[in-house]
């Protein structure tokens, strides 16, 4: 049992922390990044590439840094604290994991260099959080697949140079088998997209595919075999998201406590009132429980047993969701009016935390999934 970072991990934390401070230390800068066409400043992304964090989760053979889930946790937590808006989770963690497990090494190089943004397009109207719920057909025509349909809420989809599309090559809508992952050039004929900001100041897109032709060589991980890769990649994304949430919650709790110590009413700092102190303590307890589960997620996400891995990830997502809701709501409450303004940072943490709950399965979804599991949560 050991909760310490290695020296290299400490170094990583420090350097990412510095990078985030220089880019996000002034909250006004973040508002500036959001004005760019896809909601982030490409110069910041280039800086990530230069700092090596775009190569983080990839092996040295893939041109990467050889980091594991703990390294991703470190970076995501810093991004959560900074409220970073770049599509790091969408491109490096999520799409990156699909390329990694699908052995599509040639495209990893483009992520590492910062040249390409790759986004996973799997959600369809009505599929909600079920990764097996894929209707969009990919029909084989000679040496190409033809894609026809719509993908929704594609994270980082506005900026994407490539999409990884989950499409159905056999079976019925909710079958686990028959889902094929295809790498699709975003410039392909027949693709149209509508990018938009999300509630938390990040970006996503609705993407339509009208008879889009994709060479069979662009299949990632085997025809009809996409589901296992998809779930594993989403589990990694959830682990990363948990860490991001912890970074955001940690910052928000600190910010709220600081506010209570300085805000005066009735001639005293409102932090002198026990009701508000105890509420802050409850926020701290929720934060520490969430931190424990983010660590748990990072340390279980490489588990070879996919059921154990999925259950651990679901448990983490439930705890994160509950903690995030409590801390988000209470920090706004304790701030009072300033907490519900767009100009002040606390509300933006609240918004990001609220959206994290809606991503990759909310607390109820994961609670149900875990409850239905025969294996249950490892003791």
């Amino acid at each position: 049992m050991d909760f310490d970072f290695t020296d290299d991990q400490k170094l990583l934390k420090e350097s990412v922390g510095k990078l985030m401070a220089s880019r996000y230390g002034d909250f006004e800068k973040r508002k500036g990044y959001q004005k760019y066409p896809n909601g982030y400043d490409p110069a910041v992304w280039a800086e990530y590439a230069e700092a090596g964090i775009l190569s983080l989760p990839f092996s040295e053979a893939q041109g990467g840094f050889g980091g594991g889930p703990v390294e991703t946790m470190i970076v995501m937590e810093e991004m959560g604290t900074a409220l970073a808006v770049e599509p790091y989770l969408a491109c490096v963690v999520l799409a990156g994991a699909i390329l990694k497990y699908g052995k599509a090494d040639h495209k990893i190089a483009d992520i590492v260099s910062g040249e390409a943004i790759i986004a996973l397009a799997n959600i369809e109207r009505g599929s909600r959080y079920d990764l097996n719920d894929v209707s969009m057909p990919a029909k084989l025509d000679g040496t190409e697949y033809v894609l026809e349909g719509e993908k929704s809420v594609v994270l980082g989809g506005g900026a994407a140079d490539y999409f990884i599309v989950a499409a159905r090559t056999s079976g019925n809508r909710r079958d686990v088998d028959g889902i094929t992952l295809l790498l699709v050039d975003a410039k392909s004929a027949g693709i149209s997209r509508r990018g938009y900001p999300t509630q938390d100041g990040q970006h996503a897109a609705e993407v339509s595919f009208g008879s889009v032709r994709v060479p069979v060589s662009n299949v990632i991980g085997g025809v009809g075999k996409g589901y296992a890769i998809l779930t594993r990649a989403v589990d990694e994304a959830i682990a990363g998201l948990c860490a991001e949430a912890v970074g955001a919650m940690d910052a928000l709790v600190k910010m709220t406590v600081e506010y209570l110590k300085t805000r005066k009413q009735f001639g005293v700092a409102i932090g002198s009132f026990q009701a508000l102190q105890h509420r802050s303590v409850d926020m701290l307890v929720m934060l520490e429980q969430a931190r424990s589960m983010a660590i748990y997620a990072a340390l279980c996400v490489d588990d070879a047993d996919e059921v154990a891995r999925g259950n651990a990830i679901s448990a983490a997502k439930v705890q994160i969701g509950r903690s995030a809701k409590f801390i988000g709501q209470q920090s706004v409450q304790l701030h009072g009016g300033i907490g519900v303004t767009m100009e002040y940072k606390a509300g933006h943490y609240f918004k990001r935390l609220t959206m994290i709950e809606q991503m990759f399965g909310d607390s109820d979804y994961h609670l149900r999934k875990l409850a239905a599991s025969v294996a249950g949560l490892a003791a």
Binding site: M1, D2, F3, D4, F5, V70, V257, L260, K261, G271, S272, Q274, Q277, H278, S280, V281, D282, L284, V285, E288, Q289, A290, R291, S292, M293, I295, Y296, A298, L299, A315, V318, Q319, L367, R368, L370, A371, A372, G376, L377, A379
Partner: protein, 403 residues
């Protein structure tokens, strides 16, 4: 980062597990599994077995039977006891008065008390709380008046757990009523329960049990040699005593054991056409608690990892207050789940609790159901004792959040 136990820790855990399996009396274990009260005999027999093995007081100084274990080993040991389930070494002896005597007592006191305390030849109870001094312990009014070579003690203690079994009591009493601050002028005194003027009156709790008592002191004459440490420094010793209480404060093993038991019984109990355990709503409630417990277990391990770095005689980590709050809440919520399992069979109150002539009456409903209600009612104390959860919040607010 790594959540796994080391090879040595696994070997140790297995050794503890095997010892419990071989040595714990099946009757004691069954009482604990069924949630029945365990008696003096169960405690004494088990603690003597632990003591013979050298495990009754592992955290004491080595010369008095300590094992020089690290925080992780201590935790594994307690967790295995809780999960077995087996009684823990009597905390009044092992975690409270023992370490205080070992640290602040005279050589004579150590020789007289420590071996007997470790072996449970002496059963101690704790004379701290008073009717007017609960969370505000320093507000205590019991006095110890010095007369020659004696202290004369007058006052009333309350919530004195298992005083009915106790041979001795360690008492906080005011020796200097004129002290400037209320924390000053308090002394830590050891009193033989057989001394004339000591009266024990049981208090029945809402579960029907009689585990706590009022203890009255009426002109109780105690030899001055029974003072521990210096006169008027008792508050410091009491604070020191509480630092030893932190280990296993969350009692995660107890909650884990109860959840395992709930799962067993929810397979026996029916709900409509299925086992209760197959009901999605029940599984969601259960797994919801399991998630929080998993989180707390890791929080506990993080606190232990910090303790390991600080060395064993560090200050109390205020994070242990987080463990107390969450750990008590989860113990309580598992007792609610157990009532969910029993359904209407929570209702019957075992007549034997109030009427000794009726102890042989058969149980009403399944025999495992009788304790569900009482355990729930009794467990409400967990968030009240050992510094109520509100006091724990005050501690965190001050020591961690800096209010």
């Amino acid at each position: 980062m790594d959540l796994n136990l080391s090879a040595e820790e696994i070997t140790f855990r297995d050794e503890v597990r095997a010892f419990i399996a071989a040595e714990l009396s099946p009757e004691t274990r069954e009482k604990l599994v069924l949630g029945r009260e365990i008696g003096k005999h169960d405690f004494v027999e088990w603690q003597r077995k632990l003591n013979a093995k050298g495990w009754a007081v592992p955290h004491w100084p080595v010369e008095w039977g300590g094992q020089n274990w690290g925080p992780m080993q201590e935790y594994i040991f307690l967790d295995e006891l809780q999960q077995a389930p087996a009684p823990s070494p009597l905390q009044f002896n092992c975690s409270m008065v023992g370490p205080v005597i070992a640290t602040f007592g005279t050589e004579e006191q150590k020789k007289k008390f420590l071996p007997a305390t470790a072996n449970l030849d002496i059963w101690w109870c704790q004379g701290f709380s008073e009717p007017g001094a609960g969370s505000d312990l320093a507000g205590l009014k019991t006095t110890a008046r010095r007369e020659g070579d004696f202290y004369i003690i007058n006052g009333q203690k309350t919530w004195t757990t298992l005083a009915q079994y106790a041979d001795w009591i360690f008492v906080l009493a005011r020796t200097n009523p004129q002290a400037e601050k209320k924390q000053q002028g308090i002394s830590f005194i050891l009193v033989d329960m057989k001394t004339p003027g000591v009266t024990v009156r049981p208090i029945q709790l809402i579960d029907g049990g009689r585990e706590v008592n009022e203890v009255w002191f009426d002109e109780v004459k105690v030899p001055a040699e029974n003072l521990v440490g210096q006169e008027n420094r008792g508050w410091d010793y009491a604070k020191y005593l509480l630092t030893n209480e932190r280990m296993g404060i969350a009692r995660i093993g107890v909650s884990k054991q109860r959840i395992r038991r709930i799962k067993e019984l929810a397979k026996i109990e029916r709900y409509g056409d299925t086992q209760l355990l197959d009901q999605p709503w029940f599984r969601e409630k259960l797994v919801s608690v399991e998630i929080e417990l998993k989180a707390l277990e890791i929080t506990q391990l993080r606190v232990l990892a910090e303790a390991r770095k600080r060395g064993r005689h560090g200050e109390v980590d205020p994070n242990s207050s987080i463990l107390k709050i969450k750990g008590s809440e989860l113990q309580q919520v598992t007792t609610e789940l157990m009532m969910d399992v029993m359904g209407p069979y929570v209702l019957p109150f075992a007549a034997s609790m109030d009427d000794e002539d009726r102890t042989n009456e058969p149980p009403i409903g399944p025999d495992y159901a009788a304790s569900a209600g009482p355990t729930y009612f009794n467990s409400r104390k967990i968030s009240i004792y050992g510094g109520s959860n509100e006091i724990q919040r005050n501690i965190i607010a001050k020591a961690i959040l800096g209010f």
